[in-house]
């Protein structure tokens, strides 16, 4: 028997990508990216349009062949064993169509049968999946009567029909209204608790930040950073935003802060000074110490958590302007 699965054991990452590159004519969509995602991780894939997110996801979904490099899902090479990879993935593309003349249940049965699930099993499984995505009351509705948000959720249910270990979700919340986005987010949280590995790309970065374990920032076909949000912030020395509230001596404090090292920019509000700070933890502690010793009466000295969007903008701004 040929061993087609590479290092199949618990420690095998769900996704392993090494030196993946892909060109479309003269446009290089991927320039040799590396990526490893452990099982059970929710991975946020962020980057501007055309950065290479969808290309990477299409390769993982066996819909596209890379020019060079290796992409493995659960130890299976996507180019050599696409059949095994397809069993393990649920893929939701950024743009997808539905068979309008199917009813919701028929739509689900079609995909269930396409994955070789026997009818008896499907009869039990599909109502549960529709309940998970809050579409139970639409089971007999024709697919073309569903709203966009409902279709997105139906597509997500379709992804789950064969109980895949990995979900590849390309912009699952695109084009949805705020309410539908919240619903989608809640479903993804539920899937996370079910232990699924999820790779998700989104432009709705603050919403991703709540649920992702790790993010990967891709730009111009290169991985700019991989890790959790805090790690990336530290590694890339993303600016900190300090909020300093004082009882009085606001003018004096402003002058004092301007002369301090690592202070890039000041924004004065009524009883608060916002500082764009370029230093790290030690420099921040030193700034607080010097203010205290100078005699300022500090009510609060806090660091604003920069969210995923800030991180993304910071990283990609650097990439866009290498100078």
């Amino acid at each position: 028997m040929e061993n087609i699965q590479v290092n199949y054991e618990e420690t095998v990452p769900m996704i392993q990508i090494r030196g993946l590159s892909k060109s479309f004519g003269s446009f290089q969509a991927l320039k040799g990216i590396d990526l490893t995602i452990a099982k059970g991780t929710v991975f946020g894939f962020v980057g501007p349009n055309g950065a290479g997110k969808s290309t990477t996801m299409s390769i993982l979904a066996t819909l596209m062949a890379p020019d060079s490099g290796i992409a493995m899902v659960d130890g299976f090479d996507v180019t050599k064993h696409p059949h095994e990879v397809r069993k393990r993935i649920g893929y939701m593309p950024d743009f997808f169509g539905v068979y309008d003349q199917f009813k919701t249940m028929e739509y689900m049965h079609f995909y269930g049968a396409s994955y070789g699930i026997p009818k008896a099993e499907r009869d039990e499984l599909i109502p549960n999946l529709l309940e998970l995505v809050n579409l139970s009351d639409k089971k007999d509705a024709y697919v073309d009567t569903l709203s966009r948000g409902m279709k997105q959720r139906l597509c997500l249910a379709r992804c789950l029909v064969h109980d895949p270990e990995l979900l590849i979700l390309d912009e699952p919340a695109s084009g949805l209204d705020p309410r539908a986005r919240i619903e989608m987010r809640e479903i993804l949280k539920e899937l996370k608790t079910m232990g699924k590995t999820i790779i998700i790309s989104s432009h709705i970065l603050p919403e991703l930040a709540e649920m992702v374990d790790e993010i990967g920032v891709i730009e111009h076909g290169l991985m700019r950073a991989i890790g959790n949000v805090n790690e990336i912030q530290n590694r890339l020395r993303v600016k900190r935003y300090l909020h300093i509230r004082l009882l009085d001596k606001m003018d004096e404090a402003e002058t004092f802060l301007r002369d301090r090292p690592h202070v890039n920019k000041l924004l004065r509000e009524e009883d608060k000074i916002n500082v764009h700070f370029g230093g790290g933890d030690e420099e921040q502690a030193e700034l607080l110490r010097s203010m205290m010793s100078y005699g300022f009466e500090i009510v609060s000295f806090s660091e604003a958590q920069s969210n995923l969007e800030d991180v993304f903008l910071e990283i990609t701004r650097g990439g866009a302007d290498p100078s």
């Binding site: 087609i4 062949a65 180019t79 050599k80 069993k87 893929y91 169509g97 994955y115 597509c155």
Partner: protein
């Protein structure tokens, strides 16, 4: 490979799911749910009905009799109807098949289908089979019109059966070409135009080619006093043409006459190596198989590296 065995064993367990796979089931359902299916059937029957009744009317008017009918006229009508039906099938088959893959691509459902466990062969053959089934339904629904011919005799059931087998084969051929273009070309419109282009070539192109080659050969004969076997192949060009192939079914002696022309050697003649329609079927079986094989190969991207 144990994983594959598990997949097969856990897959389609019963007879029905083996005979009707999910893609075929989907195609059957969705095709018959669309109003287009009803309208296609309606206009097809309307066209063939009008053509037949007009032909019957004209035949009777021209023969100067009304209310009576002789078997010879019935046979001519049968021929006429058979060619009309062939024309309609040739018009319908590209339209029904040239969008089956590109249409899914345009509707953005193809990628979802390609990430399922369905093989490329299953997808392509199911699409072909569902289109063929619909065409067979349409052609069978025209049988009552053929019934009119039988009222007056002159046509054998065997001949009718052979003609219907030929129709089925034509649907398969044009359907395979339609699916190939639909797989290779991204836009349905271009795929439809290409398939109609090929269909036109099969009919008109081969006929024109035959007449050109025939006139070249005749000139050669006039100029050089041609010897025998160098021109025997010219008749084979007609074996590429569905209309002449059908005619060879209706008039078996036609095959002999085609090859006789080409074997003309100072009065010495030879019979046909095989009937024209048989040669037609052999050639197009190979081409159809090739078209389907290419469609299966090209449906999914080639993932394996050299």
């Amino acid at each position: 490979m144990s994983v594959q065995k598990t997949a097969k064993a856990g897959g389609f367990g019963n007879w029905r799911s083996k005979m009707i796979n999910p893609v075929l089931d989907k195609e059957f359902r969705l095709r018959m749910r669309s109003p287009r299916a009803m309208w296609t059937l309606f206009f097809y029957l309307l066209a063939i009905g009008l053509i037949s009744l007009s032909a019957i009317y004209l035949t009777q008017e021209l023969s100067g009799r009304s209310g009576t009918y002789n078997p010879e006229e019935s046979r001519v009508l049968f021929y006429f109807l058979s060619f009309a039906q062939l024309g309609l099938i040739s018009f319908m088959a590209p339209g029904l098949t040239a969008g089956v893959i590109s249409g899914e691509r345009e509707k953005q459902t193809l990628n979802l289908l390609l990430t399922t466990q369905q093989s490329s062969t299953t997808i392509i053959l199911s699409k072909l089979l569902s289109s063929l089934s619909f065409m067979v339904l349409i052609v069978i629904s025209t049988l009552p019109i053929y019934g009119i011919m039988f009222l007056y005799g002159g046509v054998s059931p065997k001949q009718l059966l052979l003609v219907f087998v030929f129709y089925l084969f034509m649907m398969l051929v044009l359907g395979s070409f339609g699916i190939l273009f639909s797989t290779l070309l991204k836009r349905t419109m271009i795929s439809v135009i290409s398939t109609y282009g090929i269909t036109l070539f099969i009919y008109a192109g081969t006929a024109i080619l035959f007449f050109i080659m025939l006139s070249v050969w005749q000139q050669a004969v006039n100029n050089q006093g041609m010897t025998t076997s160098s021109y025997t192949w010219i008749g084979h060009i007609l074996a590429l043409n569905p209309a002449t192939a059908l005619y060879s079914i209706l008039e078996p002696s036609f095959s002999d006459s085609v090859y006789t022309i080409n074997r003309w050697n100072g009065g010495q003649t030879k019979g046909a190596p095989m009937a024209l329609w048989q040669e037609f079927m052999i050639i197009y079986s190979v081409l159809s198989a090739l078209a389907l094989w290419l469609s299966v190969r090209k449906l999914r991207p080639r993932l394996k590296k050299k």
